[in-house]
Symmetry: C2
Subunit: 606 residues, 2 copies
């Protein structure tokens, strides 16, 4: 019973008006085909495919799940056909390089595609999504032969890919990886070990699956410095891509999970499987990290997808469900009761979902522009600048957007009341599907350590300074009548934003000082600090959306209500969401003692 | 793989040391049997039954669910046998009146029983739990004949009971109830209509099910003033309890839900079923509301159960799972990595669960004392005072404890990382099971309106004043060296608590003034206001637990670490949880305009 319409007006507002994507594309000759007409057509086609093909399988796939039988996995009904349609439609190749058969369109377009498809059916979208990770690895680190063989097939979509990192004893702490790679003497390696939690690790959508596997060479140093990266296909292949036969990679089982049940999460056993090294020996982790940011932004997207899908459905329900009367007087006296949308708290829940969905989308599109630049610009300085910013903002996006995505999904259930708990409506499924997003690709806690520990403290605050200066200079510009005719209306956003950003800087300095004296300060403050940073970052994008809306309204636009709604949603965000930073500020600055003083044996007396 | 040990030390700390339950029991001659020895034995037996019989079926029941076949429901494997053991052990009759076969022990003991059983297996515990609701209704409003017939069987546990309120078109807004009751002319009524979401509405645990049904008499006024209450047994019975035959109550289906899958949620079709009126005509809703508070406290308990179960399992995992090194230096250098409990953020999650489980339990036990008094005291004034306080604090308990219970369950998943998402561990099930608790028995939004709109504003703040004065006078007493030798250590709790309570009073007055000008202020502020009130209320109980712990430590007690741990957990609560009131204070005082100004047609442009 879930419905979904791709929010093309919202997408185009960001794409065209807020972020000026067409101007951005014009900077790169590679993107000359990405004209407004083509982009428009892609949006329309993608919306159609998502709404008509992917959405209808969303709930049925949850019910059916993936079937495991003696090493083979059958995906839910319709998945295979939809994947074939996706491949035939050229969707997999959309934003991949033309050398290996891609259409060479901007990565940012690929992100919009992932958003629509992921909102309509996240479980399904994970199969092609995982391929992107494998493709990026091969693209950056592979040899010419490896690219010709694997990238061509992956770009077509004839094969799919995976990332095989996690083992039973370790997920975050990859230094503990045990999988072994023994040279065969012919340039190939015999890979042996067990990998778990491998998304799209086994399925029936494609004739081959290309696993990117972390493993250790026989003489490798201990820990993270002794990990190398290998390409290990499920089926052994010739250089021309023809399949020779099985390659000793077997699926031992698939996980029975809380959600994303249409997505097969495999245990893979490698038993002297033939693989080839990709990238330098013992540098596997660095190679992995080269595109960790994009993988994490891809996961951040899940939060936006959950918020959008849950919002659309909760809104429809809130307009239809009749219960009680408005406290300020009956609104639809002719009916037995008012629709629940008249109640302020229901509106608060809906607006929270809306603010997170639209604000999160803005954050993703901001980052997509950086990714375009990183992957395409010929100017090294510009590329590095974009990469530096991406590295800073990625943990915020990943953790913050998945946390507020989960909150939004839960609010959607809450709007439905008891009906939200019933499977038929689909609302509880969004909660279950989205729940993985704060766990995989690095938990919220890991993202928070990455942000505060690595990105901020290790750079002595440089990365933070660069981003906060961008916001403050935006605020300065928008607060002057000479540079902003909408200054007066924008004050209500600019002042609280400036103040919050100034505090962000100050708290960060104080945290850095405290962290020098007490190393536990970092872990103790990190998650609150990340959420704090997230709310301020999202406020920056809501301010920009409001500014753009004022500019549009000053002109002769149709659909004036659309822009008014943006401004009012920004007001909601600043009034009702941004104040959450107060509590996070208080708790992140608290002494680590309150966390560390209780000996672990005193945590329970059972 | 879930484990559970009843936290008897924690329970007894509250029972004996913080709330002085034995002294409290001595006030009532009815409770003379509730001696420390007996209470102890009950705790031990209840723990055994919960740990050994109920817990092992927790996960299997989730997997199996209830089976529906042509009107009959089969509960998961083991449920029936456990229920029979429960009945044979006299557990159902524990705290019910001796006139109809009960043991006449205090309701507060029944609450401890519900806590242990509900933590071990909430789904199972719902069957006997629902009976209590029906029993209370019959006890208060039934005729002597009704009590003799129904209460006797329900107290034995031979029959179970339900509450049939919700219909497809209404849950909260019971004025929309359509089920009809037509007099048969012989003092009975023919009941016809459809009820949905009926927990324990059909099952195989008992030979009969006694439905308490809201329905309308033919000439009843519209809305809530025309609803009457009926007893409608599933099987028609003689006055001596012998079963005559079916009574035209059929189960149309059971719901496929997110969680509590072992608990059957039935659609019941009444088709001229024979029922008898209970309580006065057209006063059904008032009759229901006489014990609404206890039903809601019973639901609040689910939050505590979820927090406790999730905490116990997350703690074990955090001590065993090895990942990364502590940032302040390796803690277990002999192992490949440190256990994750060394990481401050993992500790923050565990301590949050612990603070909510133990703080929530304290709130429940505080209320249990009120319930004992209401149901037993001969002093009408005392009874009324207790009832007034219960009415005030119930919405806080119901909404706040279920919200933080859900948060705790989610934190438990987070501690497990990706493994938390896998069914086998049971952690995600706690999230799913607990998710219903903020929805049924009145959503969080409904509780918040009850608190701010009915309980506070309608009483012109009297109920709030009475509770806040209790806290402030506690603070005054504990802040004077003459009345508190631990004054110095308690300052860190007493000052922030006093300040928070003073603010609570002031904000409430300001809200009342604003609400007079703008009725939407109530709904707009209500949920933030409720959570704000909840955090302060829990702080009061953490202060009391700390005070008690200081007192015990001043004496010659064994297990000193136990009391030290209580104090440190209180410190954690005040440092890391209580500051959440800052954000709630800011958002609850915000102008309703930011919620109401967007016309509903402008909430989406799809």
């Amino acid at each position: 019973m879930l419905t979904y319409k791709a929010p093309i007006a919202d997408i185009k507002f960001l794409f065209e008006d807020v972020f000026g994507y067409y101007k951005h594309y014009e900077k790169f000759p590679e993107f000359e085909e990405a004209t407004p007409d083509l982009v428009d057509a892609i949006f329309q086609e993608c919306a159609k495919f998502s709404e008509n093909e992917l959405l209808p399988m969303n709930q049925s796939a949850d019910k059916e799940g993936c079937k495991f039988d003696n090493g083979t996995v059958t995906t839910p009904k319709g998945f295979k056909e939809a994947y074939q349609q996706y491949v035939d439609g050229g969707w997999q190749s959309l934003s991949h390089g033309i050398e290996y058969g891609g259409q060479g369109l901007p990565p940012s377009l690929g992100m919009v595609k992932s958003e629509m498809m992921g909102t309509a059916n996240w479980s399904w979208a994970m199969y092609p999504g995982l391929s992107h990770g494998a493709m990026n690895t091969i693209d950056v680190h592979g040899t010419k032969d490896q690219k010709e063989l694997y990238l061509t097939k992956l770009t077509e979509g004839t094969w799919t890919g995976t990332m095989c990192l996690t083992e039973p004893q370790c997920g975050t702490d990859l230094g503990q990886v045990k999988t072994k790679a023994v040279p065969n003497g012919d340039g190939t390696y015999a890979i042996s070990g067990t990998k778990i939690f491998i998304s799209a690790g086994e399925h029936d959508l494609a004739e081959n699956i290309i696993h990117i596997v972390l493993a250790r060479l026989p003489d490798a140093p201990k820990g993270t410095r002794g990990i190398s990266l290998f390409i290990v296909p499920k089926m052994d292949v010739e250089q021309d891509g023809s399949i020779i036969g099985g390659n000793h990679v077997t699926c031992g089982s698939i996980e029975d999970k809380m959600g994303i049940k249409g997505s097969a999460t495999a245990v893979l056993n490698f038993d002297n499987a033939k693989g080839v090294l990709i990238g330098p020996e013992n540098k596997g982790l660095e190679c992995m990290f080269t595109f960790m940011n994009t993988a994490r932004v891809g996961t951040a997207l899940q939060g936006v997808c959950a918020a959008e899908l849950s919002y659309q459905n909760a809104l429809l329900y809130a307009k239809e469900r009749l219960s009680m009367r408005s406290l300020s007087g009956a609104k639809q006296p002719e009916k037995v009761a008012d629709p629940i949308i008249v109640h302020p708290d229901v509106r608060k829940m809906l607006l929270t979902q809306k603010a997170f969905a639209e604000g999160g989308r803005a954050m993703i599109y901001y980052v997509s522009k950086l990714v375009d630049t990183i992957e395409t610009s010929k100017d090294e300085k510009e590329r590095k600048r974009a990469d530096y910013r991406l590295g800073f903002i990625t943990p915020i996006l990943k953790a913050f957007l998945t946390e507020v995505g989960s909150e939004s999904a839960n609010l959607g259930v809450q709007v439905f009341g008891g009906h939200g708990y019933i499977k038929e409506w689909g609302m509880e499924q969004i909660v279950r599907d989205c729940r993985i997003s704060t766990l995989y690709e690095g938990t919220t806690g890991i993202q928070a350590l990455d942000l505060l520990g690595r990105k901020i403290l290790l750079s002595r605050g440089k990365s933070l300074k660069s981003f906060t200066m961008e916001i403050l200079s935006y605020c300065r510009e928008k607060s002057m009548i000479s540079s902003n005719p909408h200054k007066r209306q924008m004050n209500k956003f600019i002042w609280p934003l400036s103040k919050a950003v100034a505090n962000w800087q100050q708290y960060s300095v104080r945290l850095a000082i405290k962290a020098k004296k007490d190393r536990d300060m970092v872990g103790s403050a990190s998650v609150d600090y990340l959420m704090y940073s997230g709310y301020i970052t999202m406020a920056y994008f809501w301010a920009q959306m409001a500014q753009t809306a004022y500019e549009k309204l000053a002109g002769d636009v149709e659909n004036r209500d659309f822009y008014r709604a943006k401004i009012k949603t920004a007001e909601f965000y600043f009034d009702r969401i941004l104040p959450r930073i107060k509590s996070h500020a208080a708790t992140m600055m608290a002494d680590p003692k309150s966390l560390m003083q209780l000996d672990e044996d005193l945590l329970s007396f059972l």
